[in-house]
Symmetry: C2
Subunit: 322 residues, 2 copies
């Protein structure tokens, strides 16, 4: 088994160059732009770790690991167009730099390349990899649609919100681990367990992320606290608070949506999150999901030594140390 | 072997309903909208015919035949956004009806569904089908980029133009036939020949299409003659005429680009197409490519009886009877 830093090195050695054709440049410059923004490469690393956990060699899984990174970045390019976002990871978004048409087409070709890299492996794995990946891709688009739909609604339930973040962000983590597990030779039951581990870890992470945006410390989180509140973003805190609220609290909530004084808005919405029990509920839900994730990991039929890297990774992700 | 109408019936029986999930409706209503517009289904039919030519059963190729139709329609949805087109086949375009974001996301999910249907076949075919399809999809995006690039240029060569239409429209016809051939059990050499047949047939068709837009009869073509000239569209006629033109003709061409009197513009550009030899060159090129297509068909190592349906189809396409 390779260490985390060795896996990182393997990946970077192969993919830290411009991996796309040069021509037509109008098509591939935007692709190389987003692919070259430094990142944690968490999805490819999870895929490679999933492979090695079952005794596979990460080198056999490198192309699929690049596929999931290309796919993830494709979703960012199209999401940024839909969200009209100008900045991503500190640099201008693709459509901001190159125009909307270039962003649409760059995303499209990235999706095709994701499938190309995914299937550039030993042919016996191709049907399984494709089936898992297709299901995930479709769920991610459904999650993005739910997210856009929820912006226009005030009656989103906790269950609906959890399904949305599951589809929009968590299924890809489960998918990465399962793809790696397939190449590593895992059986059907172990594939299911490692998928569940990634899925629940992703959900736990997302809810904690919502929590920290409101209740974290600015230096640790690396961004202004309360951003979600200012934008009236439907987060786990928002949805649970609104559902838990009594009539008076609901009225206060609704009037705060249009409050112009940002400091006042943040302070009073935080108080509502506390008073409705949403703050504690978010922490509890995140912890619960993290524990469910670890239970799935424990059930996988490989030795403890093989589980250690992913258990450590889960802890790092949970502690915001990765 | 099934007749053309029997293949059509097989396809319609399975796919003339809403084939996509109902929820989220914001995602799938736009998809069902474009998929339900009546059409000739030429790509799925070519795929099914390619399969049966080699003795395969079209029923085994139905899912991939739907995949190419979904893929083709996905490209229309995204192209219509990029071209800012309001109408497609007589009805409002997806983004016009549902908004640009819905159009982007509907296209994305259609691409994923194309891969899902493509790979919903006997697993031994999956690696080949995916490899052929990936290559084609990437070329189509490159062709779309070339097309957008050419709009801003006046020095496009005949070779560049042919490469653009090859990528943008013809490779998909070759791909459909080859995908069918794979499922029908064709060997590598026959796969190459049937691909070439489709590719050249597509090129021949596209050049003739350009020709008829200018020199056809309105009743037969079913649209106003001269539309490409009015829009200064880079067609085979335009590109060859401009490259053949002497200095005086080039100057006349350039001044006609901004001519406001549409009838005068059409008349004088037609005269230039004639005087520069572009009109005859387009006819000759289309015929030449059609004959090359037929030669590829002739070389395929199956009996004449098996080639007959595709030979007849080629003739119908060439005569605008399909």
């Amino acid at each position: 088994m390779h260490s985390l830093s060795a896996l990182n090195a393997l990946y970077n050695e192969k993919f830290s160059v411009d991996n796309f054709h040069q021509n037509p440049t109008g098509l591939y410059k935007p692709v190389n732009h987003i692919m070259n923004i430094p990142g944690k490469r968490i999805r490819p690393l999870l895929l490679l770790m999933g492979c090695e956990m079952f005794g596979g060699d990460a080198k056999q899984a490198l192309n699929p690991s690049f596929a999931v990174e290309v796919f993830h970045n494709f979703t960012l390019v199209h999401d940024d167009i839909m969200d009209n976002a100008d900045i991503r990871r500190g640099v201008p978004t693709v459509h901001k730099l190159y125009g909307t048409n270039a962003g649409i087409l760059a995303g499209d070709v990235m999706l095709a390349f994701a499938y190309r890299y995914l299937t550039d492996v030993a042919p016996q794995y191709v049907p399984s990899l494709i089936t898992i990946f297709n299901k995930t891709a479709i769920e991610i688009f459904e999650g993005q649609q739910m997210d856009m739909d929820f912006e226009k609604r005030n009656d989103v339930t906790e269950g609906e919100y959890l399904k949305m973040i599951e589809f929009k962000t968590s299924v890809l983590l489960g998918c990465c681990l399962q793809l790696g597990a397939v190449i590593g030779g895992a059986g059907a039951e172990d594939q299911k367990l490692i998928y569940e581990f990634g899925l629940k870890l992703g959900l736990s992470f997302q809810i904690k992320d919502d929590y920290l945006d409101t209740f974290g410390e600015a230096e640790k989180v690396g961004k202004r606290i309360g951003g979600d509140i200012i934008q009236n973003k439907k987060t786990y805190l928002y949805v649970t608070a609104f559902n838990n609220a009594n009539a008076a609290q609901k009225a206060q909530f609704t009037s705060l949506l249009t409050e112009a004084d940002e400091e006042k808005k943040i302070k009073e919405v935080k108080q509502l999150f506390e008073a409705t029990g949403a703050r504690q509920q978010a922490l509890d839900k995140s912890d619960e999901l993290y524990n469910v994730a670890l239970q799935s990991l424990q059930k996988i039929s490989v030795g403890e030594e093989n589980k250690k890297p992913l258990a450590e990774m889960a802890q790092k992700i949970n502690n915001r140390e990765f």
